[in-house]
């Protein structure tokens, strides 16, 4: 039997593994391993950085004996491996590349450690090396009870916004993770936008990350968790990181809220049907904050949240459509606020303040137009999904997440327009000031 859990802890620990190989003539070679990871119950991957004697040997003779030491018990293992292939792209490679960047930075080897490939080995056998060991640590390191408590706290009624909130609250309460955010995927624009966060001075809701950029972007692109245990500038998001340039008419920047100097980062994709729904991102100023076991638990949590999210979307789509007959409510009084909309990127400005852009900006503009022209205040998600003016990038688009984003941005900005949930998949628009709507370049709208 392969002691998968113990070996993963060894690979994750601070004691480097030792790689023993031999040439065809039997001449042995022994070297230190930079990084290794499990890639399934019977395989592991070792980082390939240099064309050295180890590499020459495995290409000629695939047999490797890997020495590992458990970071808590000091139990030593000898893992007998057979080299199968090298991967130079894809989830295993990207996950190792990110981790290696952290290790390189931690050990002062930035620029020296560069991943050329992930060598995939089949595990042929594992030996427990006889010797003294220490007792295994107690169950306090086991994240299963926290996972259970977190899953139990997720809502059962279909409300995607409270689902994301429950997940972030659960992470703080049960896992003691204080900095976390959820970003949802805008597949059409290859971007991820923040819809909820915890533990930052500003929420950063609406800030964006390019797919493929940093740990979050790589996790989304490769659909693989990325965990970095040491601070590295290679994958850092600067505080000045912007959401993609200025819009016609003004800055449309929402700063990314992340820590300036994270010691540990973990990005876990939230699975969707084809593309991931988004990414759960966690960080800490502390180095080596997130263990392999916690990563496992959070992958399970993200899978549960992803499945519930999709279930909620389906339930909301099937929900009984009940809309009260449009009633023209008396408009608010006071001096009107100028609201500008730029069709080029659907950015919306309330007065001089940038609020939002993209699909969520377009939705807001439609709501405001209907409110202005028809006096409408009641809307349903289903109706918006069917509205040709909404122009969703594709049928599977996550309209719910965009409404969550819009709701939060309006609430955060304490805008004179607010959205208030009135029932399953329905909401009411509250407008407390007369609005003067201006479409700045209606030709493209």
């Amino acid at each position: 039997m392969i002691p998968v859990r113990a070996l993963r802890e060894c690979l994750d620990g601070a004691i480097p593994g030792v790689v023993s190989t031999c040439a065809l003539d039997g001449t042995p070679n022994v070297a230190y391993m930079s990084q290794g990871m499990f890639v399934g119950p019977e395989h592991l991957a070792l980082s390939y950085q240099f064309f050295n004697r180890t590499r020459q040997n495995i290409l000629a003779n695939p047999r490797v004996t890997l020495g590992l030491t458990h970071p808590h018990t000091a139990q030593q293992y000898r893992v007998h491996l057979a080299y199968e292939r090298t991967e130079t792209a894809g989830p295993i490679f990207e996950s190792m590349k990110a981790k290696l960047a952290g290790i390189a930075s931690h050990t002062g080897m930035t620029g020296v450690f560069r991943l050329q490939g992930s060598d995939i080995y089949r595990i042929e056998g594992v030996e427990w090396v006889p010797g003294s060991t220490l007792p295994a640590p107690g169950p306090e390191g086991d994240p299963l009870p926290a996972l259970r408590a977190c899953v139990e706290s997720l809502p059962a009624s279909p409300d995607t916004e409270s689902l994301l909130d429950a997940m972030l609250d659960g992470l703080e309460r049960h896992f003691g993770i204080h900095q976390a955010m959820v970003l949802m995927l805008d597949a059409g624009r290859h971007r991820l936008y923040t819809v909820a966060s915890r533990g930052y001075p500003v929420s950063g809701v609406g800030s964006e990350i390019q797919v493929g950029d940093g740990v979050i972007g790589v996790a989304a692109r490769e659909r693989v968790p990325i965990r970095i245990s040491h601070m590295t500038s290679e994958y850092a998001y600067g505080l000045a990181m912007r959401e993609g340039g200025a819009a016609p008419g003004g800055e449309t920047e929402i700063p990314f809220p992340g820590l300036a100097s994270p010691g540990s980062q973990l990005a876990v994709p939230i699975p969707g049907l084809r593309e991931p729904l988004g990414v759960l991102f966690l960080e800490s100023p502390q180095e080596m904050r997130f263990s392999q076991a916690e990563e496992d638990a959070l992958v399970a949590l993200a899978a549960q949240v992803g499945a519930l999210f999709r279930l909620f979307l389906a339930e909301l789509d099937l929900a009984e459509e009940f809309l009260p007959a449009p009633v023209r409510e008396p408009g608010p009084s006071g001096s009107p606020l100028r609201v500008r909309h730029y069709a080029a990127n659907d950015s919306v400005f309330l007065g001089d303040d940038y609020l939002i852009k993209g699909v969520a900006g377009n939705i807001l503009w439609i709501l405001l137009q209907d409110h202005q022209a028809l006096g409408r205040t009641q809307f349903s998600n289903r109706e918006l999904r069917a509205d040709p003016r909404v122009r969703l990038p594709d049928q599977s688009d996550n309209l719910e997440a965009r409404l969550v984003l819009l709701h939060r941005r309006l609430a955060e900005r304490k805008a004179c327009v607010q959205m208030e949930k009135t029932g399953r998949g329905r909401f009411r628009l509250l407008v407390t000031r007369p609005l003067d709507l201006e479409d700045m370049d209606p030709g493209e709208g």
Partner: protein, 166 residues
């Protein structure tokens, strides 16, 4: 097969090898399967013409069999603080009886390794468990250093050690 000329290791290298750093030794069987074991100390003899590694017999059983069969050994020495790493190979390795002073070398090595790892957060009990070996289990393997390679991470990694041979 003629053995390579013995390698001269200067005093800096010899200090490094005996300085309480991590040591692992490897060999291979006749079928291309490598063997491996952590060593628990190194003693220099004859001014560096022979190196003696100490091992725990139960942990090193396969390695000892392979060494007995082929005489081939590769040993990697690495300082966990600086990552300075040196690999030394030999072709005449053989198990030797323990000599007076060997047990003291092993105990000195343990103490030095404990001290070194303490500075990067490892507890003494952990390091002592890692280097644990009953008195009756201690064995020695001696070899003539035949080749050495700088394995400190960097562009020079893998380069043979330069130095005057004698």
């Amino acid at each position: 097969m003629s053995l390579p000329a013995p390698l001269h290791l200067d005093s800096d290298h010899l200090r490094f090898l005996t300085g309480g750093i991590s040591i692992n030794a490897a060999s291979s069987d006749g079928n291309g399967v490598p063997s491996l074991c952590r060593a628990i100390g190194c003693r220099v003899k004859g001014g560096g013409s022979r190196l003696v590694l100490f091992l725990s017999e139960p942990a090193a059983r396969t390695l000892l069999e392979d060494i007995q069969r082929s005489g081939q050994i590769a040993a990697v020495f690495s300082d966990p603080l600086t990552h300075r790493t040196l690999q030394i190979k030999g072709w005449d390795a053989a198990r030797m009886p323990l000599e007076p002073g060997d047990a003291e070398v092993v105990e000195g090595y343990r103490a030095a390794f404990v001290e070194r790892l303490k500075s990067i957060g490892f507890q003494a009990c952990f390091v002592r468990a890692l280097l644990g070996c009953g008195t009756m289990d201690l064995v020695a393997v001696a070899f003539t250093p035949g080749a050495a390679f700088n394995q400190t991470p960097g562009v020079q990694a893998g380069a043979p050690l330069e130095g005057p041979s004698r």
